[in-house]
C-alpha cells in the first residue's frame, strides 16, 4: 500500500491549522470552507447567501504558492469549496484584514474605502464584497473599471446599486497594494512550501465517505483504478451543488485539484493543449490574445470567484448541455486525452460526450488534456452567449460559428453549433447544409435564419421559453454575418 495521510494543513489567523478527518467527527472532508469557518467563534463574518456561488456573500481569499516563487491571492466562493481544497494554502477572511490594537482598529485600505464611500447599507453582502476588493487590491494597481467590475461580478448587493463599491475599489486600489500581509509574505511562503513538500496523497476512509486527494498524476491514476466508482472533482463548483443544494452526501470523491501536472497550457503552431486542471481564469488570461473566441465566452463564464477554481476539464467532463465552452471546442474539433494505468488514448470531444451529462470515460481513466486545434488564418470564428443577465448567468442559448468562404464570397465550409437548444450541444446541420456553397450574403443569411428558426425544438424553462430560444438562435446567425462584414457596431 502506498503511504497516505488523512489530514490537511493550512494557515488561518497566521497559524497552521491541521484537521485530521479520520479523528474528527465535527468536520467531514466535504464540509464546505464556509460551514467550517462559521463553526469557529471568530469567523462569522463570512455569510451564506445562496449556497450555490451566485451571490458571493461567502467570498474568502486564499493565498497560494504561485509556482513562481511568490504567493497568488485568489477570491473564491467558500460555499462551493470543500475543506481539503485549502490544504497547503493560507485562508484569509474578513476578520483578518483589520489590525486590532487594544480598542483601536486599523482598517485595511479596502475597508477604509468601503466606509468612506458608503459601500455598505444592510451589511450582509459586505464581508464578501470586502474580500473581493481585497483580492483585487493584492493583484491590481489602478485597475480599469472593467477589471473592477469583473472582480465584483460574483458579488450581489441588493441595497447600494454598486456605484459606491466601485468607487471604493477605485480609491483603495489606487494605493501601492501594500498591507500587513505583504510584511508576512516570506514567512507564509515558507510555511506553505513546507506543507506542500509532502506529496503523500491524502486518503480519508471514513465510514460514510471516502475522499482522495493525490498530488501527482501517478497517484491520481492509481487512486482512480483503486476507486473506479469515485466522483472526480476539481474546482467542485458544479459537484458541490449536489451537496449544498440537493443535500446529497457524496460518498466517494477523487479530488484532482492539487495535481499540478494537470495545470498547464502549451501551444504550437496548430494546437493549444490545456491541462484538465487548468482554471478558467488562467485559460482566460492565456486566450485573450491567442484564442479570442474562447476568451469571449470565458469572460462571461461565472464570476472571478468561480473561474479561479473551476477548470476546463470540469466544464467538459460534466457534459452539461449548457457548458459554455462546448460549442466552440466542438467547432474546433477538439480532442481529449485520457490517461489510465499503462495506457492513454485520444478521442474527439464529440465522441467523448455521449449525452446529457454522459461521457465515454472508462472507469479507470482520467481526463488529462484538452487539445484544441487553432483556427486557420482564412477562417472566421465567433462565439456567443445569451442569458437573462449578461454576467454570472447560465446561457439560454450559446453558439459558435466557423466560416470559411471562398474567393467568390461563397460558403466553402460552415460549422454552427448551439448550446441550450437541445439536450446536448448540437450542430445545426440543416442550416449548415443550406448555407454550404451559397453566397455569404445577407439574403442567404436571412433565408438560413428561417431554417434555423425551425431546426431545433428547444424547451421552455425558467431561463427562456421555446419561442425566445428560436429567435435567439436565428438572430445569432445574423449577428455572426454582421461581424463577418466587420461592421463597426457597439457592443452591449
Amino acid at each position: 500500500m502506498a503511504p497516505s495521510k488523512s489530514g490537511i494543513a493550512f494557515i488561518l489567523d497566521n497559524k497552521i491549522t491541521e484537521i485530521d478527518f479520520s479523528a474528527n467527527d465535527s468536520f467531514k472532508p466535504t464540509t464546505t470552507v464556509l460551514n467550517y469557518l462559521r463553526s469557529l467563534p471568530g469567523h462569522k463574518g463570512v455569510k451564506e447567501g445562496c449556497a450555490e456561488g451566485d451571490c458571493g456573500a461567502c467570498t474568502i481569499v486564499v493565498a497560494e504558492l504561485d509556482g513562481r516563487g511568490g504567493l497568488a491571492y485568489k477570491s473564491l466562493d467558500s460555499c462551493l469549496v470543500f475543506l481539503p481544497a485549502i490544504h497547503g494554502k493560507q485562508l484569509i477572511t474578513v476578520e483578518n484584514l483589520a489590525i486590532k490594537k487594544g480598542k483601536e482598529i486599523k482598517l485595511h485600505p479596502v475597508q477604509e474605502s468601503m466606509v468612506k464611500k458608503d459601500g455598505s447599507q444592510c451589511g450582509y453582502c459586505t464581508p464578501g464584497v470586502v474580500m473581493s476588493l481585497f483580492a483585487l487590491y493584492k493583484t491590481h494597481q489602478n485597475p480599469s473599471r472593467e477589471i473592477i467590475e469583473d472582480s465584483l461580478t460574483g458579488n450581489l448587493c441588493r441595497c447600494t446599486g454598486y456605484r459606491p463599491i466601485i468607487d471604493a475599489a477605485t480609491e483603495a486600489c489606487g494605493l501601492d497594494g501594500r498591507d500587513h500581509f505583504s510584511e508576512n509574505e516570506e514567512e507564509i511562503f515558507s510555511t506553505l512550501q513546507n506543507i506542500s513538500e509532502d506529496k503523500t496523497s491524502i486518503e480519508i476512509y471514513n465510514p460514510e465517505q471516502i475522499f482522495l486527494k493525490p498530488f501527482t498524476i501517478a497517484e491520481a491514476i492509481r487512486l482512480r483504478k483503486e476507486h473506479p466508482d469515485s466522483l472526480i472533482v476539481n474546482g467542485s463548483t458544479d459537484v458541490a451543488l449536489l451537496q449544498t443544494k440537493k443535500k446529497i452526501l457524496l460518498p466517494k470523491i477523487l479530488d484532482l485539484s492539487a495535481v499540478d501536472e494537470l495545470k498547464l497550457i502549451v501551444e504550437d503552431h496548430s494546437k493549444i493543449a490545456v491541462g484538465a486542471g487548468t482554471s478558467m481564469e488562467e485559460l482566460l488570461q492565456f486566450c485573450e490574445t491567442r484564442l479570442p473566441a474562447l476568451a469571449t465566452i470565458l469572460k462571461v463564464f461565472g464570476s472571478l470567484q468561480i473561474r479561479n477554481v473551476a477548470t476546463l476539464g470540469g466544464n467538459i467532463a460534466s457534459a452539461s448541455p449548457i457548458g459554455d465552452t462546448l460549442p466552440l471546442l466542438l467547432v474546433l474539433d477538439t480532442k481529449v486525452r485520457l490517461l489510465a494505468p499503462g495506457r492513454q488514448r485520444e478521442l474527439l470531444l464529440s465522441d467523448f460526450i455521449t449525452g446529457y451529462r454522459k461521457t465515454s470515460i472508462e472507469a479507470d481513466e482520467i481526463l488529462a488534456l484538452i487539445i484544441i486545434s487553432k483556427p486557420l488564418k482564412n477562417e472566421i470564428i465567433r462565439t456567443y452567449k445569451i442569458s437573462k443577465r449578461k454576467d454570472l448567468d447560465i446561457s439560454s442559448v450559446s453558439a459558435c460559428f466557423r466560416l470559411k468562404s471562398d474567393k467568390n464570397n461563397n460558403v466553402a465550409q460552415i460549422k454552427i453549433i448551439f448550446g441550450g437548444m437541445a439536450a446536448t450541444a448540437l450542430h445545426a446541420t440543416k442550416t449548415e447544409d443550406f448555407l454550404l456553397g451559397q453566397s455569404w450574403s445577407r439574403e442567404t443569411v436571412e433565408k438560413a435564419m428561417e431554417i434555423l428558426y425551425h431546426e431545433f425544438s428547444p424547451i421552455s424553462d425558467a431561463r427562456a421559453d421555446e419561442e425566445s430560444r428560436r429567435i435567439m438562435a436565428k438572430n445569432l446567425l445574423m449577428k455572426f454575418w454582421i461581424e463577418t462584414q466587420e461592421s463597426k457596431n457597439h457592443s452591449v
Partner: protein, 778 residues
C-alpha cells in the same frame, strides 16, 4: 464663542459601517449558539392546492435527535398569522393553498437530523385544481376584498368627447425581495410563558402580537428584539412574523431555544412577492397630448391570503395619476385570490404598479402624436396654482415638479441627447439607442391613518452618555444613522456620546412597521419630542448653574442652548457648562433623565367609502433620465447614462439619501428588466434561487450615473425639513424601462406601438422586436 464642531456638509457615515466591513455586525444567524439551541425546520407543501387526507408524524418524532414535530393540532393558541385579516393559517389545516405553505414544524439537534425527520413524515394529499393566474381567478370570481374605486369628474363623457382615445392592457410582473439575509428568527423560552424573540422583522410589535396569538399568551409575555436586518425591502413587514411564529411554537414545545434560518430556495418558494398586476386602461386626450380622461381597472394577484394586499391595491389607486393632473379620472381595483404564496409589501407598495400604467399611457400618446415624451409629460404635470388637486381630493402642495424638470433637463442635456439618439438610430440597423425621462410623485404616510404614530425612549446616564431607542427598525436604510444625527443635533452632543440600541418591544410598545418610507419621519419626531422633554427639565437647573460664578444678570431658562457638548446661555455665550456636568448635577438634584417621546402625523385622513381625503402628509418628488443601448439581435441592453434629481427636502443625511436613491433606482431597474418569475403548470416556482432569478449585478448599472438631491427645497412640518426617501426612488427605474421601449420603437420609426411589459427581459425585447419587424414587412 461656540463653534460648530462638525462640517455640516459632511454627513455621517452609516453607524454600522465599521462593523459591516470588518465582519463584526451580527445577524440572527450569527448569534452565539449554546448546545441547547435546536434547529427549526419548516415542512411545506409541494402542491399549490390539495386536501390533506391524512398524515403520520410518529416515525419522524421517534427519530433520534428530533425534539418536536408539530402539526396544526399542536398550536396552543390561534392557528393564524394574518396581519390584518385573519385568513392566513400558521400551519395548514386540512388543505394547502399554495406550494410553499407550511404544514409541519420540526425541531432537531441539527439540520441533517431535521432533514431526515422530514423524509419520515407520511402525508397523503388529494390534489385539487389550483388557480395560478389572475385571468383564471377572474373567471372563477376568486376575490379578496371588495372592489376599490376612486373617481373624479365625468370620465365616460370626456372619454367619448376627446379627440383621441387609446386603450390597452399592461402586465407588470412579480418581484422577489432578494434580501441577502433570508428570513430568520431565534426564540428563547424564559420563565413561565415568557418568550424572547430575536427576529429579522420590520414590524416587531406585530411579530410580538402574532407570537402571543399562536401561543395564547398576553403580549407582555413576549419580547421582540431587532438589532438589524440584512435587507428587507418590505419582505419582512409581515413575512418575518411567520418565521417568528414557527420558531416560537417549537421553542414553546421543546422548552429550548430554537433557530429558524430559511435556506435561500425555501425562502423564495415560501414567501410572498411583489403583486403581479394586469391593468386595463382607456385614455382620452387632445391634439396637444393633454390627457382629458383616464379610466383604469387594476387587477392584483394577491396570492392565497389577504396579507397587505388591500392596502397595496389602495396605494396603486392613489398613484395612478403619478405626477399628472387628469381632470376626469376613474380607477378601480380588485385583488384576486390565487394558489400562490400571499403576495406582500415591496418597496413602493403598489405605487409602482399604478404609476407604470399612466407612464405607459403618456408614452403611447407621445408616440401617436409624434411629440417629445418629456415635453408631453411637462404639459400634463400637476401645476402650482391650479390643476393641482389629485383624483382623491388632496392638493399637491409645494409642487417640486417644475423645478426638478428644469434641473434634470439641463443636467442631462435631454434635448441634445434626443438628437444624438435619433442620429445614432438613423445610422445603425441592429443597435438602437433609446431615451426616456420619467417623473415620480409619491405620497408619504401610511394610508391607514392611525398607523402614522411612533414612540421613542431616551435615557441619559450619569456620565452624560445617551441611549436612544425608538420603534423603527434598521434594515440597511440608515434609519439609526439618521436618528443618531437627529439626537446629536437636538442634544448638542457628539455622535459618539449617543448609542441607538436594538429595537425592542419592551422599550417602545405598539409601534407601526418600519415601512411606507416613514421610518425617519415618524421616529425622528418621536425622538425629538422625547429629547425636548428632558431638555425642558434641565433648563432651570442649567440657568442656575450658568449664573453661578458670574456677575451681572442671571441666565434665563429660555436662553439655554445645547451645542458642541456644551450647555450655554445664548445671551452670554461665555457662560458654559459641559453637558456631562449638567447631567451629573441633574442626577443629584433628582431630575429624571429618562423620557419617552411620541409623535403622530397631524392633519391626515381618508374616507375610504367616498374615496376622498388627505391621506398623505406630503409628497416626495423626483425625476430621472436614462439613455440605453439595445442590441436588437440578442435583446441585451446597456444603460449608458442615468441622471436623477430627487427631492429629499433638507436631507437628514446626504450620504444615506443618495444611497437610498441609487439602490432604489437599481432595484426598480431590476423589476423592470431582468427579474423574471415563472411558475410551472403545477404552481411551483421555477426561479427559486439566484441561479435563475437575476437581480442586477455590478455590470447592470449605468455607465454614467449622476444623482443629485434637490437643493433649497425644505419640507414643511417634518423633522428638520426632511423628506422620506425609501420608496420613491424605486420609480426612477421606469426611465430605463421606457428608454428600452423607445429603442425598440425606433426600429419601426415609431410607427408601431411595441409590445411591452414588466419585466422587459431580453425575451420580451426580442419578441417585441420580432413583431415590429413582421409589421414592417407586411
Amino acid at each position: 464663542m461656540v463653534k460648530s464642531e462638525t462640517n455640516p456638509n459632511i454627513s455621517l457615515q452609516h453607524e454600522s459601517a465599521i462593523s459591516h466591513v470588518t465582519g463584526q455586525s451580527a445577524y440572527i444567524n450569527d448569534m452565539p449558539v449554546n448546545d441547547q439551541m435546536l434547529v427549526g425546520k419548516v415542512v411545506y407543501s409541494k402542491f399549490a392546492h390539495a386536501a390533506i387526507k391524512s398524515f403520520n408524524l410518529d416515525k419522524a418524532r421517534n427519530f433520534p435527535g428530533v425534539r418536536a414535530v408539530l402539526s396544526v393540532h399542536n398550536i396552543p393558541g390561534a392557528n393564524q398569522m394574518g396581519p390584518v385579516i385573519h385568513d392566513e393559517p400558521c400551519l395548514a389545516d386540512k388543505v394547502v393553498n399554495f406550494a410553499g405553505q407550511a404544514i409541519f414544524l420540526i425541531a432537531a439537534i441539527d439540520e441533517e437530523t431535521a432533514r431526515h425527520a422530514e423524509n419520515l413524515i407520511e402525508t397523503e394529499f388529494e390534489p385539487l385544481e389550483p388557480i395560478l393566474d389572475i385571468e383564471t381567478a377572474i373567471l372563477k370570481n376568486s376575490k379578496i376584498g371588495d372592489e376599490k374605486r376612486i373617481e373624479t369628474g365625468d370620465v365616460d363623457k370626456n372619454l367619448q368627447s376627446s379627440m383621441f382615445q387609446i386603450s390597452g392592457t399592461l402586465r407588470t410582473g412579480a418581484q422577489e425581495h432578494w434580501y441577502l439575509e433570508t428570513q430568520s428568527c431565534v426564540c428563547i423560552p424564559g420563565e413561565g410563558s415568557e418568550m424572547m424573540v430575536y427576529s429579522s422583522t420590520q414590524h416587531p410589535s406585530e411579530t410580538q402580537a402574532i407570537v402571543a396569538e399562536v401561543l395564547d399568551i398576553p403580549r407582555n409575555e413576549v419580547t421582540v428584539e431587532v438589532k438589524r436586518m440584512g435587507g428587507a425591502f418590505g419582505g419582512k413587514e409581515t413575512q418575518g412574523n411567520h418565521v417568528a411564529a414557527w420558531a416560537a411554537l417549537l421553542a414553546d414545545a421543546t422548552n429550548c431555544p430554537v433557530k429558524i434560518h430559511l435556506f435561500r430556495d425555501d425562502d423564495q418558494i415560501m414567501t410572498g412577492k411583489r403583486h403581479r398586476f394586469i391593468s386595463h386602461y382607456r385614455a382620452g386626450f387632445d391634439a396637444d397630448g393633454k390627457i382629458l380622461a383616464l379610466d383604469v381597472e387594476l387587477n392584483a394577484d394577491a396570492g392565497a391570503a389577504t396579507d397587505l394586499s388591500l392596502a397595496i391595491l389602495e396605494r396603486a389607486l392613489f398613484h395612478i395619476d403619478n405626477a399628472y393632473f387628469v381632470p376626469n379620472l376613474r380607477v378601480t381595483g380588485q385583488a384576486w385570490k390565487t394558489n400562490l404564496p400571499s403576495n406582500t409589501a415591496f418597496r413602493g407598495f403598489g405605487g409602482p404598479q399604478g404609476i407604470a400604467v399612466i407612464e405607459t399611457v403618456i408614452d403611447r400618446i407621445a408616440r401617436q402624436l409624434k411629440l417629445d415624451p418629456a415635453r408631453l409629460r411637462q404639459l400634463n404635470f400637476y401645476q402650482t396654482r391650479q390643476n393641482n388637486i389629485t383624483h382623491y381630493g388632496e392638493e399637491v402642495e409645494n409642487n417640486r415638479l417644475p423645478m426638478i424638470f428644469d434641473k434634470i433637463i439641463s443636467n442631462s442635456g435631454y434635448f441634445r441627447l434626443r438628437e444624438e439618439v435619433e442620429a445614432f438610430n438613423q445610422k445603425n440597423e441592429f443597435y438602437k439607442k433609446g431615451l426616456a425621462l420619467t417623473p415620480v410623485k409619491f405620497g408619504i404616510s401610511f394610508t391607514t391613518s392611525f398607523l402614522n404614530q411612533a414612540g421613542a425612549l431616551i435615557n441619559i446616564f450619569r456620565d452624560g452618555s445617551v441611549v436612544v431607542n425608538h420603534g423603527g427598525t434598521e434594515m440597511g436604510q440608515g434609519l439609526h444613522t439618521k436618528i443618531l444625527e437627529i439626537a446629536s443635533k437636538e442634544l448638542g452632543i457628539s455622535h459618539n456620546q449617543i448609542k441607538v440600541t436594538a429595537t425592542n418591544t419592551s422599550k417602545v410598545p405598539n409601534t407601526s412597521a418600519t415601512a411606507a418610507s416613514s421610518g425617519s419621519d415618524l421616529n425622528g419626531m418621536a425622538v425629538k419630542t422625547g429629547i425636548e422633554k428632558i431638555k425642558n427639565r434641565l433648563l432651570t437647573l442649567a440657568a442656575e448653574l450658568l449664573s453661578e460664578n458670574h456677575g451681572g444678570e442671571n441666565s434665563s431658562p429660555e436662553n439655554i442652548s445645547f451645542k458642541d457638548n456644551l450647555v450655554f446661555d445664548s445671551k452670554n455665550p461665555d457662560r458654559t457648562i459641559s453637558f456631562r456636568d449638567l447631567i451629573s448635577n441633574a442626577y443629584f438634584r433628582q431630575i429624571s433623565l429618562s423620557a419617552t417621546g411620541f409623535y403622530k402625523t397631524p392633519d391626515i385622513h381618508f374616507d375610504k367609502i367616498k374615496g376622498r381625503g388627505r391621506p398623505f402628509h406630503y409628497f416626495a418628488f423626483g425625476m430621472s433620465v436614462s439613455e440605453v443601448l439595445v442590441d436588437t439581435l440578442t435583446g441585451y441592453h446597456k444603460i449608458l447614462k442615468t441622471f436623477i434629481v430627487h427631492d429629499a427636502g433638507d436631507s437628514l443625511s446626504e450620504k444615506i439619501d443618495i444611497g437610498q436613491i441609487e439602490g432604489g433606482f437599481i432595484q426598480g431597474v431590476g423589476w423592470c428588466t431582468s427579474e423574471d418569475i415563472k411558475w410551472n403548470e403545477k404552481g411551483q416556482l421555477l426561479n427559486h434561487s439566484p441561479d435563475t432569478y437575476k437581480i442586477p449585478g455590478v455590470r447592470d448599472i449605468p455607465l454614467e450615473f449622476h444623482v443629485e438631491l434637490l437643493k433649497d427645497a425644505p419640507n414643511h412640518s417634518t423633522i428638520r425639513g426632511s423628506k422620506a426617501v425609501g420608496e420613491p426612488p424605486f420609480m426612477h427605474g421606469f426611465s430605463v424601462w421606457l428608454a428600452i421601449k423607445d429603442a425598440i420603437s425606433s426600429i419601426g420609426n415609431n410607427r408601431f406601438e411595441p409590445d411591452f411589459q414588466i419585466p422587459a427581459t431580453n425575451e420580451v425585447i426580442l419578441k417585441s422586436i420580432e413583431n415590429i419587424r413582421k409589421k414592417i414587412k407586411s
